[in-house]
Symmetry: none
Subunit: 420 residues, 2 copies
């Protein structure tokens, strides 16, 4: 099955928005063994949409579009493609009723704007694709020769939901038995430099067989991506499993998870298993560590809370850090970060207390403590350990890497101390 | 001048890499008044490249490609496009000598791999585009009818350098005097639904003249992007200014900033001007509001800190919320959020205290308080105001929208009370 993707929107063509939908579509379809053979981006005009989709349909069996399904006047995807298929637009009364009901629960006092009704206009013969994350339905249109166009919304969350819930099952059904796939497996590491990872894998491991290996550095660490192509699903999975186990034997406990694994989730799980409750004390990260932990659904049984001790006054009053310690060593110092961690443990009555204090920049650095100097500490049931980090990158990266390093400190402490 | 862009690479088509080059090219060319009319992404095979570039050349005056110029065997851009133009590939001895010299300074002990020499093979009649950030030269090819293809590298840093150093000057020269540009201006709103914004602009405003208007909903609110095309730079700016002022007259104080404005930055600025210090108390957002405020460089003179009162125990002990209030109304209630805000103001000794408590989901909702029910409050020097939100979206969106709404509560309070 040859599929092309057309992403629609002036904001994409003008470069105001980076096209992340296209990459997501490609990865999901690759999982079914379907390769996207070409991708096109066109503007919001009806002519551009019809031309781009028409050209794609001449080459492919199916075309997936994203964007241009909203209620505003620049949303022309549906009528342009309907015209391409020679179909009229008709009102879907069921959808309109559903939209009115949905509107009334949210804004009982305001009437629904007339522009919203446009979302209930569908091409004749269209199959509706349910949108569980928004009000614009997706559309599936097929011509007499079996060529099809699936129109998905441009908002990433809506697009992703609709793809998983409705379009992938349709594609899977049309594929029948899948014989050749492209598959990947990603192992995530943190706290080890890319060149060291490459060195360990290169010198201690004689490659990873006929499996492609890519090093992908990012703000969370270095991901190792293994890829195989053109194999049956079973053989592909077996090759990946073998390569992953060889990588694990070399990298050991530097690997904290696979695929999209989130270190916060890994840490929460480890604490949950031990009945440990977490508290945080944050200076330069200003709430980022707490935000990462509580971003995980169900974190409330493990996370008690924290103190954003941005100003030294808060470090003293809410965390009990002695004023003398702050005066003598400065806020970014080992004694202070340890006192912060212990203050969190005592004041929040938790077993695992993490603290961070540092210089995120761009200002505030000195020769002795340059931007990127960060201290992290863990007070685990009274046992305190601390580490100094020297991070590079801008303010955002320093903060993100600091939170990641604090989580890793707790993960490793628990891993090396099964009784904690 | 009609230009199309073709970005080349299996990793783009497979979704492993997000295509940021395309957006950069679009923004830079728009600055010269050149619009990219279509963008195509194709894989690394010679056939795909020739087909995509050939199709683009049939429609456009010029085509810019990125990717496929490196030394590895999957880099087929040059020979494929040379074949399309009916040109042979010849060795450029000057370039080869330059490469050998460059290699010798960096790795004096190792001979240059033979694969590198491929980069010195150029199509007959090609104009070389200097690469100041890497070893692969760019190529500019023109046919007898004046249609051209410019091949740039795929590595973003090399592509950006070559574009600025060599390709933009060529395009500018061919354009003659720049008389026509594409320009945009974005006004950011929050707290108003997209369809309501569209309704207000549509009914109360007779359009925005000959200026294009796009509604761009995102997790922060709805951005209104005005775009003009095909005007002189002066006329374009004047039209945009006029349209922006008409939009402002209709949307009033719902507009919190322009272009990439960050609401946290706007609020920090307003507080700084009044000498106000901010503190936060966060339940369901778990630190996100603090993280947003402290993400802004220089926020430390305005932000004192906060309490992540995720567990009710923390609401009682660190914020002084009465246990009876929690028992009677529940943690997600108006009395509790007001007590949290006042607790923050008292315990952190700040003038502006923001509090958030809500149900971010996916669990924890009930019929009376469904997921997305959030209370926010502001205690501004003792004057407390609170608001209930009914948000949709997943956990991440509910949390992000909650933090944004809290910031907006403070922004509006300060705007309507210049003396605070």
């Amino acid at each position: 099955m040859r599929i092309e993707v057309v992403t629609i929107g002036d904001e994409l063509l003008l470069g105001y928005t980076i096209d992340t939908n296209a990459a997501h579509l490609a990865r999901e379809l690759a999982g079914l063994g379907v390769e996207i053979v070409r991708r096109t981006t066109c503007g919001d005009s009806g002519d551009s949409i019809a031309a781009a989709v028409g050209d794609a349909l001449d080459r492919a069996d199916g075309v997936i579009t994203t964007g241009g399904l909203g209620p505003t006047s620049d949303d022309l995807t549906k009528p342009s493609i309907a015209a391409l298929f020679g179909r009229e637009m008709v009102l879907d009364a069921t959808h309109l009723a559903w939209m009115r009901e949905r509107w009334a629960t949210r804004w009982p006092d305001k009437p629904m704007p007339a522009s919203n009704a446009q979302q209930a206009m569908l091409p004749v013969g269209a199959r509706k694709l349910t949108n569980n994350h928004g009000s614009a339905p997706g559309i599936f249109l097929e011509d007499a020769r079996g060529r099809w166009v699936a129109m998905l919304p441009g908002v990433p969350r809506e697009m992703r939901g609709m793809l998983a819930d409705t379009l992938l099952p349709i594609v899977r059904e049309r594929l029948g038995t899948v014989t050749r796939v492209v598959r990947s497996r990603t192992l995530r590491t943190t706290g080890v430099a890319e060149s060291l990872v490459a060195d360990r894998v290169g010198t201690q491991l004689d490659g990873v067989g006929e499996v492609g290996l890519a090093y992908l550095p990012n703000a969370d660490g270095v991901d190792l991506r293994l890829t195989v192509r053109g194999l049956s699903p079973e053989v592909a999975d077996a090759r990946l499993a073998e390569a992953a186990s060889r990588l694990r034997s070399v990298m050991g406990d530097a690997i904290y998870g696979e695929q999209q694994a989130d270190l916060a989730e890994v840490v929460l799980e480890a604490c949950r298993a031990r009945g440990l409750v977490i508290g945080v004390g944050e200076s330069c990260t200003g709430g980022l560590l707490g935000a990462r932990l509580t971003a995980v659904p169900g974190s409330s049984d493990v996370v008690r809370g924290g103190v954003i001790a941005y100003d030294d006054d808060v470090k003293r009053t809410l965390l009990g850090v002695p004023a003398a310690l702050l005066a003598e060593h400065g806020a970014v110092s080992e004694p202070v970060v340890r006192a912060m961690a212990s203050g969190v443990r005592a004041r929040l009555r938790v077993g695992a207390a993490l603290a961070i204090t540092g210089i995120a920049g761009p200002g505030g650095g000195s020769e002795a403590k340059p931007v990127g100097t960060v201290w992290i500490a863990l007070d685990l049931n009274g046992a305190v350990e601390s580490r100094q980090l020297r991070l590079w990158g801008d303010r955002e990266e320093v903060r993100r890497r600091s939170a990641q390093a604090a989580l890793e400190l707790l993960r490793r402490a628990l891993a090396s101390n099964p009784a904690a």
